[in-house]
Structures are given as C-alpha cells and as structure tokens.
Symmetry: C2
Subunit: 593 residues, 2 copies
C-alpha cells in the first residue's frame, strides 16, 4: 500500500482554512510556489522513503541488544536522508542553520511524515521540541554548541519527563540533580516512556530532563530543566566520553513499534542547567504547545493514511450488488453506506487538518506578527486551539483508523493488510503529550479565561463572520451549512457561558463536562474550517478557476459534515451542562468495585 | 487483573430489561434460584479458570506445527472443564443431552465466558451454532450421531462460509461438492477465516461447509450445506480415519490470538448433505441469528472486562489534585472527568446488555411461546433486534475498550497492562458474522418491512408504554429520562417513516443512512433498556428492597445516559435522512484516488 502525499489538500487547507496569507509580511520567502515546492518535496520523501519502511518498523521494531538500542531496519538511512534533505531545519532560526520558514508549513510537512511513518516521525518531532526549548531558554553557550547540530539533524533530542509515579502530575517527580562541584550537575533517577530515548540513527542524543534539586521546594516549583547528552560534548563540539545514562529497557507497546520507547536510567549523568532554577516545568511548557500540535497532526496523519488505504481497498474489493447500478459483484465503493463512510472520514480529516494548521498559523503570528496586538491576539488563539488540535484530532485519528479497519472487513483484522497497524499506532496519540482528558481540563480550566475571555470571544466572533460570509455569498451549493453552523455555534456559546459561570463556583460541575465540551467545540471549529474551505471553493468555481470536481468535493464534504457532525452539536450541550451531582454521589462500590 | 463476573447486573438485566419472567411458563425449571445458581457457577468458571488464561492466549496464541493446530497454553484443560461442567449443554434439547434451559440464560453465561476469555469463548460458540443447524436441518441419523457429542462438548463445531473472493456475498462461493457415487459427497475447495477450524482440545471437529454442487444454478440457489467431520465417524459413533481436510494456515491477527483462525483446505473430503439441496444459505441463516447475538454479547463482554480493568486502575493510580476534595495525588476516580467516563462506559454496557438479553428472550419466546401469536410476535422482535444487538453492542465494545485504554494513560499503551488486548480483541466483533454495515443494511433493507411493519411498530409501541410508565411513576429520581426518551423516540419514528417511504423508491437514499439509523435506533433502544431498569430500581427502593446504593446507580446511569446519549439522538436524524445525492455525484478521483 503506497502513500500519496495529499499535497493539494494540505496547500488548500493552509491557505483557505488556516489563513496562511496573513504570514506574507513576516515570511516573504514563503510564497505559494515555495509552499508547493516544499510540500511536494516532503511528499516525495514521505511516499518514496518513509512509507515503505512503515510495515517493517512495525514487524521488527526497535531492539535493545547489549544495552544499545538499534532502530528498525532502514530507519537509520532514512533518517540521514531526512536530515540531509533539510527537513529537520525548515522552521528553525537561520542563526542556527535553519531555513526560517513558517512553523505552519513545517506542520504541513510533518503531517505527511507522520502519515508515511509515524514511528519514524517521532524522532525529528522530539528534536524540534528540544530545539524549541533550547532556543528559548538555553544560554548563549548552549545555543551555540547544541542548536546547529540539532537543527541539522546530526544529533537528536528527547524530552525526559515521566516517571513511574509521575505522569500527568509532573509535580511529583523524584529524579535528582545535584551540583557536581564543578559548575555542572549530576542527575540520578529513572524516566519512563522516553520516545527515541536511545537509538543508533544519529551520533548523539541531547536529553532534556526534568529533575528536582536538593533543598528545592516541593511540587512544581522545585523542578528544573537540565540538558544531559548521551555522549559528552567538548567545548569545540567534538564528542567525548559516554555519559552515565542508558536505556534500561524498551516498552512492549500496542503500536509505533518502530519508535523505541525507553526506560532511561540516569546514573550520575553529567548535565547542564537550562534556564532558571525552579522554572523547569515552565520551560518545558515552551515545547509542550508545539509538541501537542505535532501530536494533533499525527491524528490527522494516521487518519489520512487509514483513509487512503480504505479508499483504495474499496475500489479493489468487489462484494454484493450495488443499490445504484444494480451491478452484481460491485466495488465496495459503489455501496452507498461505504461511500458515505469514506466521505465522512475525509470530511473529519479535513476539519482536523484545518484546526491543526490554523493553530500553527496562530503560532507563527504569535512570534512573527507585525504588531504586539497582532502577536498577542495570535498567542491567545494558539493557546486556545492547542488542546482542541491535540485532542480532537487524535480522537479523529483513532476513529478514522477504526473505520479504515472496518471497511476492509475480515482483511482489516489480518495484520498483513496494514489497516490494523494504523488502528494500533493511532491509539497512542490521545494519550501522550497530555492525555485528551488533560487537554479538556486545560481547555475548561485555563483556556476559557485567557485574556479574560477574549480568546474564546474572538474565536466565536470569527466563526460568526464566516456564517455571515456564507449567508452573503448565498451559494445554494452550501446547502444548510450556514444554518447548521449557526445553530451549533449558538449551542457552543451557551455551553461556554455555562462553564464560565460554573467554573467560578463549582469546578467539579465544569470539569465533569470538560471532555464533552472539547468534543462539542472541536466539532464546531472543525465545521468552521470546512465552511471556510467551502467559501473558497465556491468562489473558485464561480471564477472558473481550478479543478471543479475536486473543489466541488470540498462543498460536498462540508454539506455532509453539516448534516452529520454539526447537526449533532446542539444535542451535546446537555452533556456539558449535566453537572457532577450524580458523580459525587457515586462510590466505587456502587459501580461494581 | 482478575475478572469479577457481574452476576448481579446480568440477573437484573435479564429480569427487568429483558422480561425473563415471560419465560416462566415455558421453562418452569428456570426460576430465579436456578438462574442465580447458573450465573454464579459460570461466573466462577469464567473468573477462576478462563480469565487467567487470557493473557497467555494473547501472547502465545494458537500455533500450527506440522499441519496440526495446537491451542494456546491451558486452553485444552480449560475446555475440558468447561464441557464437563455442562456449560456447553445449557440450552440444548434434553433429547440430545441438553439441559433445556432458556437461550437467554445461556447468553448471560456466555457474556461472562467471552469477558473472561473471548478467544476461548469462540470455540463453544461455534459449536452451539453447529448444534442449532443440525437440530433444525439434520436428518434423524445425523442428529442421533452428532448432536449428543456436540452437546456434551466431546466434539466441537465450525462454520465454513467465507472464501477469499466471497465474504459478505456468499452467493459467489466456488467450493465444490460432488457426489462420491456412494451416497455421500466429496468436497474440494478453500475456506478462510474459519474460527477454531482446527485444534487439539477435542477429539473431533464437525465442519459445516457451504459448497456448490455440479449443475447447480448460479448464485445462492446453487449452494448447499454439508457436514464434513475432521475424523470420519463410524455408524456406531466411533472415530475412524482422518478425513481429507486440513488447516492450511493460521492468520496473523490483530487480536483474539488464542482463537485459531484457519485457512481450511478441503481436498476431496467426505461429506454428508445437511437439509435440502440448494438451501444451504437458508439453513446457515438458522445459526446466523444466534451467532450474531453471540457476537453482540462479545461486544458487551469485552466492554465489561475493559470497564472493570479501567475502574480498578482508576482506584489504584494517583495523579493530580481532586476538584472535589482538593486532595493532592488523588485517585483518578476522584477526578470528575474520569468518573463521568467510567459511568458512561457502564451505562452503555448495561444498555447493550439489555438489548442482547432482550433479543435472547425474544428468541426463547419465538420457539417456546404459549401461542402461535406469541411466538410470531417474538420472532419478529428477535429478527428486528438481532442486527441492533450485533452492531450496536460491538461498536460499544470497541469504544469502551478504547476508553479503557485511555483511562490507563501511558500504561494503557503498554501490552503488559492488558488494556490494549481488549482494544485489539474487541475490534473483530464489528466485522465477523456480517459486518456492522451489513447489519445496518439488513435492518433497513429487510427488518423494517417485517410483518409489514409490525415488527418496528410493536417495538415503538412498547417503548411508548415505558415512557407512560415513567410518567405514571413520576419518581423525581428519573430526572428528565422520560422526556429525553420521548424526544428520542419521536426522532426515531420520524427517521423510520422516512426510510420506509424512501426505501420503496430510492434505495440508495435509504441505504446511505443505514449505519446512522442503526446507531440512532440502538441509542433509543438502549435508553429504553435503562429506563426499564430505572423503573424497577425505583420500585425496589420505594419498597425498601435490595441494595439501595446499587439500585440508585441504575437510576444515575439512566440519567447520565439520557443527558448524553439520548439527548444527542434528535440531532442524528439529519444524518439518516441526508440522502445519497452527494455520494452519487462523487467519483473516486474526486476523493483523492
């Protein structure tokens, strides 16, 4: 099963759903030719190099032999091609060897990388996080020493956060960093679930490690961020001795077998402090937003991959009589129920893609907007959309991958077919980088009050503007899209108001509806993305520009989404505003424990 | 992770959701003491014998060595305990050594068997199918020779239907049966996906095989049902020579590794005709309803198992501050979002359990009702509910298993935890015994017209009666249950009317909404099941009978289901009545192919 990079769809979504043109001033090089060329190049890499390794990565996986982690077959060479092609440095600062392109374009590129081979994509994804953290919080020396080699991809990076007792609640970590008497630090402790924590595809690994310092206050304020390289680095950048850290084990996981998930043992490892003592968690959150958006993009990616495979299968497999044509042994595609499922899969993928790329454009504007007001508004938007991009898109990833298995029928359950791998791989994305439950709590507990409510208010206003534009354009091809979106938005507004009111005096009520609210708001924002695409498609068709069939599909997908997903939004509000009284009254024993 | 058989919940659902007391006349032995004793006994077997083998079954699986399939470790001994305990013969006719108990009680028992070890449960489940087919269509000689040994569990049975080109569309099978000149038949062909097609846990395997006969008409009318034993059986029942059939391979599957899924090669195998020449498919459908209900029960079962594991984990794992108590490092259970998720999981499980047990009670009444009118009405109910029981419950199975993984956080993705196995095992149930898409087509294409609409009309009437009863009882503890159920039922009625109207003149429109309709109707019927339970719980509480906390939870689950699932039903109607115009206008190329 080959992977076809959806370059045209991504470019369309970047432009029309995410508003990429607003970056023109800040990124003059990122014109549409460049965008297309970059996406085409990445698409070729993804399709030709990375996708063919995906099944072997699953079957063989990474292995730990004699204390050394070996990447899955072919991953090392592919990684070198990835780095040499400059794919690691797209959005990095030119001062550190980067190409200075927008992060939103990088997200478009990484969607294709993750779709082709999600286990592979995690390696550079973690490196990007380390680059982000060091660029913001590293000393001049650290930036000069580490960033060029991370940006080039010569070295890779990791995030060492989780410990056995400390997952969602990082305030409880116990890994200890003590001064080594030489101006540096010595780290001792165990970290788990460390993605690409050890491997043989690059010369060195820059571990960013959260640790507690002696005499530090308890809780999050006692946690600092440290850098501990796998191989010690001399002042001139050459590699020295091995550091006192190692992979103590590899997890046996449901999916992403090609990504080594390590137990990391720090046994008095030499380390440097990054940023301020006691600010470790805050510094780590710098990379967290970007990482969460990347994970949301993995949801889109795995859904796209699963969708393509299901579509291809539906065109090959013949079974039963078509209700349309009466043909016996018709293609699955020619059964209405199957075609509806495929189109719903694609509609949700395009909605999620729009959300992720919009979040990325907001991040670009937050750092590169022309005015402080622009940057500030964009930062609010990025902060608000990030939990939705992460959670809604990864839920889509699991659901679409499951539908992909289903369309294959019995063959979907057979591992050789490949559909099952997507179902397994997709399942991690709602979990890592903050579970989707944590995202929902973040949305309700923190993001609704951002800018004293300006963040959510601005979003609602922007969505109303699109409804006005739909009504003004008045293309009958929109169907009931405007009405469905408006009714859904009204429900979202009411649910939001309830949460804001309730949050102030009865947090359990608000939190009990957090997941339902994130789903509801994501459904609406996703519909907004498709609506913006529909407006653009309608205008292009009216102007006689572009591929009318492909543009018409954007309209059809928006209509189908409106009648299925958006039509169900008002009914979801009751679940948001249900409150926690029944929960509070329920004991484990009453639930069968 | 131990499994606790939910005996009390199953007994409650049998009685109050499924109306088990209506069987009192036909099954005088099945009094409540007997029901409880049977469920307790099966629960002990499931928890003590079958559940502990589940993980080994997954890890080691069944193996094919030198042409012989060996069951997973411990499965052979467990199977013998199962058979010796009489669990295979519960609902079989006493004439063949059965215990003559209701099938609905058997379904309650098998829910626990599948929950404990779904891969194991498939072996006796297929045997029950073979018993059903032979009891209905076998000759006196076949029944005398095979049934006692199948009922006792000494031998097991299989269904050989699928071929590589022929899955959902059995009219295209090519396996050939030719007269052997000796009064018997000789079968040649390849069958795939044959569950427990070969193994070493019993002395013989009775294969029921669909095959085409020479000169038979094309399509389904040319297909007949044959019996081909693994080991030939002498007239006195003793075993003779090996038959010319074998397992040619085992599938490498996503889950249920403990269940050998075989490619079966028939190489001139000696066989007997079962029933009428050319009626093979019709005869096979005799066992299909029962098998579909069993698979629906697997959905309930795997959801129950995943729920129990998630609940247990939520009580052990401590992470973050509780919004209720303010306690740091609170149990996951003490976070509102997690508790809501757990209660929604349980509410959907109880809804699905009610649907499956109601279908089973209808099946019992269809065969044992006092009058022909009773039997006929029950048969309609069984036929109507079967696709819902199969598809809705297995979709619940996948979703609840996925939520179970999610509640475990990172540990959910690690195979050692066991949550991931449920997610993998659950995925087959929406596929086999007719994909859930096929179930939806069956519901819309066939079941809505059953009894010229009487089947669906009676169901709607019964649901209205329950709404009336809720209103009459007027317990404030029902919350808005009556109103939510009524609004949902109105939406279901309208969607049903649209489908019946559209089916007559535009089948693609109707079929394009089939899956959405099955989901909608299942949501309503599930709510009805919980409402009946709520009525019973309310009455018991008012009478001061039973465990008030446990009964109160029945009410709480019904309320939560009403505000989350039922509240979303009206919004789903638009998806049912959307029509197929956009689908018909969409080509593969327009979707990216």
């Amino acid at each position: 099963m080959t992977f076809r990079a959806p370059v045209r769809d991504i470019a369309f979504s970047l432009r029309h759903a995410a508003g990429f043109e607003r970056l023109a001033g800040a990124f003059p090089d990122a014109d549409s030719d460049t965008v297309e060329a970059v996406l085409e190049g990445a698409g070729a890499l993804a399709g030709d190099i990375l996708a063919p390794l995906n099944r072997q990565g699953d079957l063989v996986g990474a292995t730990l032999e004699n204390g050394v982690v070996r990447a899955a077959p072919g991953f090392g060479q592919a990684y070198r091609q990835f780095a040499e092609g400059g794919w690691n440095s797209l959005a990095a600062d030119p001062d550190h060897g980067g190409q200075g392109l927008p992060k939103s374009l990088e997200i478009g590129v990484f969607e294709m990388v993750h779709a082709a081979n999600m286990a592979f994509g995690l390696c550079p994804m973690l490196t990007l996080g380390a680059i982000e953290a060091l660029a913001h919080h590293g000393s001049d020396h650290q930036r000069a020493l580490y960033l060029p080699r991370l940006v080039s991809g010569e070295w890779t990076g990791t995030m060492n956060l989780t410990e056995p007792q400390s997952g969602s609640d990082l305030g409880t970590i116990t890994t200890l960093a003590t001064p080594d008497g030489d101006g540096g630090w010595s780290i001792t402790g165990q970290k788990i679930y460390i993605t690409w924590g050890d491997h043989d595809v690059a010369d060195n690994i820059v571990h960013l490690v959260l640790a507690r310092t002696p005499d530090a206050p308890p809780g999050v304020k006692g946690i600092s961020l440290f850098l501990a390289p796998k191989v010690l680095v001399e002042a001139d950048g050459t590699l020295g001795a091995a550091n006192a850290l190692r992979a103590g084990g590899l997890e046996h996981k449901l999916g992403i077998h090609g990504s080594p998930t390590c137990v990391m043992l720090f046994e008095g490892a030499k380390a440097e402090l990054v940023g301020q003592l006691g600010s470790g968690l805050a510094h780590m959150f710098t990379m967290m937003n970007a990482a969460r958006l990347q994970v949301g993009t993995q949801g889109v990616a795995i859904a796209e991959r699963a969708y393509q495979q299901a579509l291809a299968f539906s065109l090959e497999r013949r079974q039963g009589r078509s209700a349309w044509t009466g043909e016996a042994s018709a293609r699955l595609f020619d059964h209405p129920d199957v075609r509806r499922t495929l189109m719903l899969m694609k509609a949700r993928i395009e909605a999620a893609r729009g959300i992720c790329l919009s979040t990325a454009v907001a991040a670009d504007l937050a750092s590169h907007g022309a005015t402080e007001a622009d940057r500030s508004a964009a930062r609010l938007r990025e902060e608000l959309l990030t939990p939705i991009a992460k959670a809604w898109s990864t839920d889509i990833g699991v659901e679409v991958a499951s539908q992909g298995v289903q369309i294959h029928g019995g063959m979907g359950f057979i591992e050789e077919t490949g559909a099952a791998q997507h179902y397994r791989d997709a399942r991690i994305a709602p979990i890592y980088e903050g579970t989707n439950g944590i995202q929902a709590i973040d949305l309700v507990g923190r993001k609704l009050s951002l800018g004293e409510g300006q963040a959510i208010g601005d979003l609602m206003d922007d969505m109303r503007d699109t409804i006005d534009a739909l009504n003004a354009a008045g293309d009958p091809a929109f169907g009931t899209l405007a009405r469905r979106l408006e009714t859904a938005l009204d429900a979202a507004s009411a649910a939001t108001a309830w949460l804001i009111e309730r949050r102030a005096r009865a947090m359990p009520d608000a939190l009990s509806g957090a997941t339902a609210y994130l789903k509801l708001l994501g459904d609406v924002v996703g519909g907004w993305m498709l609506a913006k695409g529909a407006l653009a498609a309608s205008a292009a068709i009216a102007a006689g520009e572009g591929d009318a069939g492909w543009l018409g599909t954007k309209l059809a997908l928006a209509r189908i989404y409106a009648e299925t997903v958006l039509a169900q939004v008002p009914g979801q509000a009751a679940g948001v505003t249900l409150g926690a009284a029944d929960l509070a009254a329920t004991t484990p024993e009453m639930l069968g424990a």
